[in-house]
Amino acid sequence: MKRATLRNAALGALAGAGLLTSAACGSGFDDKPAAPAQQSTGPASLQILIGSSGDAETNAVRQAADAWAKASGSTATVTPAQDLAQQLGQAFAGDNPPDVFYVDASRFADYASVGALEPYGDRIANSQDFYESLRATFTYDGKLYCAPKDFSTLALIVNDGLWKKAGLTDADVPTTWEQLTSVSEKLAAKGITPLAVGDTRDRIGAFMVQAGGWITSPDGKQATADSPENAKALEYVQSLLKEKFARFPKQLDAGWGGEAFGKEKAAMTIEGNWIKGALKADFPDVKYSVHELPAGPKGKGTLSFTTCWGISAKSKYKEQAIDFVQAMTTADQQMAFARAFGVMPSRQSAKDAYTAEFPGDAPFVNGAEYAQGPVNAPKMESVLADFDTGIQQLTSTSPASVLERLQKNTQAALGN
């Protein structure tokens, strides 16, 4: 037995070492230069932990943090996390959390409900300027906890080449569910897979919003999963899947919708604005256009994904931290981030400047008006993961039973 534990420990160590080295390769060399540059003394020394999308984001945040540090006489150390959720969990448990850190919208309620976050949101100047849907996402128990950093929404991405090949024109881009079905028939007739769509609530959920439903009530207190609207949405998705009009990325040998789209295995996909960077990097030859998602029975609907600048309730430098977030969320700074790593500003006052600079992104930005944020309630992660499992089996199970299960589990998690 001891041998087994030793062997397992060795295995674990090997695996860990493997992960570490691969992670180290991924993060690049920019970990080092920042550390010596942060030696100046100041009234506050902020630790900032970010879940970076890549070097571009890390460098842009570092630059902005350095500028703030210089102006305020403080120091600000930006650390990109390898696994933000896990590192934050460890830091909270160790009573030594970073002062400022990214909080993903889907995990926000978990943190807020255990008192890990400082509810500073409305102390940010002009906090009403943040999009209402984003404010709602980061509001818990009636308090705006943190300032949204930026956001993304889902849109319909169309492959121009495949579109032409199937004899379709711009007028054929679907704007309703009916049109989506009919254009899919045309594409399928030419042997082209019409739609690649991710197999989780983060994509399929958009159909629920378009049908007028959602998993919880707007305040996140009631489970509304088994509504007829949600059933209608899942029945529609099921019909797309059964006709093979829609395929999950894995079925197309891809890790996500953008990859399937980039490999030209599907003519359309539903993804957020991050797909631009991915296509540019991995599939630069694919010509595509971006459109708002087709409207359902209750009109337009999409999902928003966002991150906020969380401030630890245990930070020693809350005032300076709020000042730091203030500097990070000005319209100008958000535009600088937008240019650096392609995110959309969370302030409405930056909308015009953004659409002027990135006209192709209008469909994404417009989505903010009617977007639904992630489920805003704690302890929902495993429930939603279970729902994803239901979605993955949608071709062989009935939508009603999937929703019934989701309803039951959501009620248990929300305690009603």
Binding site: S22, F92, D95, G115, E381, S382, D386, T389
Partner: protein, 371 residues
């Protein structure tokens, strides 16, 4: 392997004068020598295990130390919830137990038989280039499991090598990693016993621990079979080495004697070689059972429990519950249940493998005692 090398190195003690102070001094010296290991094991194994045990009895929310006053103590609630309460947590846990059960059921016998077969082959005096084959079979065992998992990801991709190979033979292979269908379901369907799309109500209506009988009877999913193949392939090398060492310990004379007595090849193997391998067999089966119940790396790298939770295992579920959902109490409770499962199974194996030897002995012993 340890018990095989032990007799060779047994030193003759007691040559010195048997004075008490000397014995005491020896004791102190002994403790001094083992102290580093005791301290390290205590600090880095025993203490964390005890700390985790405490966490599993609380509803600690991950804020601050779990050893402060004010951390809600819930007794055995976290454990009870895994077994008695109709909830998602129990369903996930039972699904993971089911998955892992089928996994162990296939991997342990398969890797043991394969390892034994390989060991017999490379031990044979007729085989040319034995060293090469030994190295080749052992190679997967020394390669990082993460690296091998990634290679398998490519091999079993829908346009990967395995699907390509099957296509050569005109077989349209499954979409390995997105296929959540249970193989037992598929088998039952192929035999025409049950229709997998519309299972009989008798099976779907109820079952123990929140899963229906139909769900319990799924067998490993197609996605899980890829992990099974991977693990059988990688671990058989290690176990081959153990069998090989044991085979080389068996005196050739025994084999020759049995041949002279008229035993065939198979009879020699069955009645001479195999009984002599019993301690090694126990070792291999125990190590195999422990490792398979703890499967984590492959799941973490290859599937993360997907598709449809059919590759979810207790070890991975424990990690996910604690570090993804911040339910540290239930997460650690799962790992302790896993611990108990492994200990119980190891004891059962010990009992099963020892029992057959022990049965005829009492008679002999009493006879000897009287004589």
């Amino acid at each position: 392997m340890a018990d095989m090398t032990a007799p060779a190195g047994g030193p003759v003690t007691g040559a010195r004068r048997p004075r008490l102070s000397a014995a005491a001094r020896e004791g102190v010296a002994g403790w001094l020598f083992v102290a580093p290991v005791v301290v390290i094991l205590g600090l880095f194994m025993l203490l964390p295990i005890l700390m985790a045990l405490w966490v599993s009895l609380t509803e600690w929310n991950g804020q601050g130390s779990p050893f402060r006053a004010g951390v809600p103590f819930v007794g055995l609630d976290n454990y009870a919830r895994l077994f008695t309460e109709e909830s998602l947590a129990r369903q996930d846990f039972m699904t993971s137990i089911r998955n892992n059960f089928y996994y162990v059921l296939i991997v342990v016998p398969a890797q043991t038989v394969l390892a034994l077969g390989l060991a017999v082959i490379v031990n044979s005096r007729l085989l040319k280039g034995r060293t090469f084959f030994r190295a080749a079979f052992f190679f997967p065992s020394v390669t990082s499991s993460v690296a091998i998992s990634v290679v398998f990801l490519f091999m079993f991709a829908n346009s990967g090598a395995v699907s390509g190979l099957l296509n050569l033979f005109g077989i349209d292979g499954p979409q390995w990693f997105s296929d959540s269908r249970g193989t037992l379901h598929l088998l039952l369907g192929a035999l025409g016993l049950v229709d997998p799309d519309a299972p009989p109500a008798a099976l779907t209506d109820g079952g123990p621990f929140g899963l229906s009988w139909w769900e319990w009877l799924s067998g490993p999913s197609v996605a899980m079979t890829t992990i099974i193949m991977l693990v059988v392939w990688t671990t058989s090398g290690t176990f081959m080495l153990m069998f090989l060492a044991a085979l080389q310990d068996i005196p050739v004379t025994l084999e020759e004697a049995s041949r002279l007595d008229g035993a065939g090849r198979w009879q020699t193997f069955r009645h001479v070689t195999l009984p002599l391998l019993k301690p090694t067999l126990f070792l291999v089966l125990t190590l195999g059972t422990i490792a398979t119940w703890q499967v984590f790396d492959q799941v973490y790298v290859m599937s993360q429990g997907d598709p449809a939770k059919t590759t979810l295992t207790p070890a991975y579920l424990s990690y996910k519950t604690a570090f993804r959902n911040f339910d540290y109490g239930p997460g650690t409770a799962i790992s302790f249940v896993l611990f108990v499962i492994i200990v119980v199974l190891a004891l059962v194996q010990r009992w099963v493998l020892r029992d057959r030897d022990a049965v005829p002995r009492p008679g002999r012993r009493t006879r000897r005692g009287k004589a």
